[in-house]
Symmetry: C2
Subunit: 148 residues, 2 copies
């Protein structure tokens, strides 16, 4: 069933739209995921190690391809926030849990998420993700010793 962007109340904060973004990934819900994005034609998405995608059609196709395999169990950690009147920049460490033939594994991704506030509330305009380093992956584990 198609879900329109108007079906949910406008998000009142960047944190709220960010929560919807990761919930949509965890649920593999393409309509919910696309409702997070701004209608601006220059929205940008870079998945780890992948080419830059510009515009809703390319971004939708990339998430549809991912969700056709499985939902993405990515959870934001260590969020750093920077906000103006109508823009919020969040730097997050995504903790991604995947199940492989060797059992459950954790991977870490560093992402920059930029949200803009418009007439319909907050919306995502840019998502740039790249693999985290081994040090960040170690720091990101709850049971890891405090390295710095």
């Amino acid at each position: 069933m198609q879900r329109s962007k108007a079906a949910m109340p406008p998000p009142e904060s960047a944190d709220e739209i960010e929560a919807r973004f990761y919930e949509a990934m965890q649920q593999g819900d393409i309509e919910k995921l696309m409702a997070v994005w701004s209608d601006d034609e220059d929205i940008c998405c870079i998945h780890p190690g992948s080419p830059r995608l510009v515009g809703a059609a390319a971004i939708r196709a990339s998430f549809e391809a991912m969700f056709s395999v499985r939902a993405i169990d990515a959870r934001p950690e260590q969020v750093r926030r920077l906000q103006t009147l109508d823009c919020a920049v969040h730097s997050v460490l995504e903790h991604v849990r995947v199940t492989t033939s060797d059992g459950p594994q954790s991977a870490y991704v560093v992402a920059t998420n930029v949200y803009v506030k418009g007439a319909l509330g907050w919306r995502l305009v840019a998502h740039h993700a790249s693999p985290a380093t081994a040090r960040e992956a170690t720091d990101g584990l709850p049971a890891a010793p405090l390295l710095h």
Copy 2:
């Protein structure tokens, strides 16, 4: 010689502050480079394949380490812009020229640069860079055939 942030006129556009950012890299000028950044304590910088850096001290140290080897001949290409009243999100393909023992080489980096407008004009608040894919590198070369 230390150069204060007030030594240059406030940048009147995100394009102007972006031009200063890349000029500072090309000139290996650490004071000019740090003057581009906002004073916000949560400014973020991610160099390709490197850990997330938060705050001016960590960012300064990373660029000083790079400039101690050489200036960075990085030039922004294929810029996609998205702007609100006080925030600008630029997605750029950085063309980096390096000279190796095999002669001059080109590398490509995808970067998301976020600028915020404050009392002192536009300033950089986030720079997230990751290696471009082979396809983007090919597309980025002026003499390359049009692949799509």
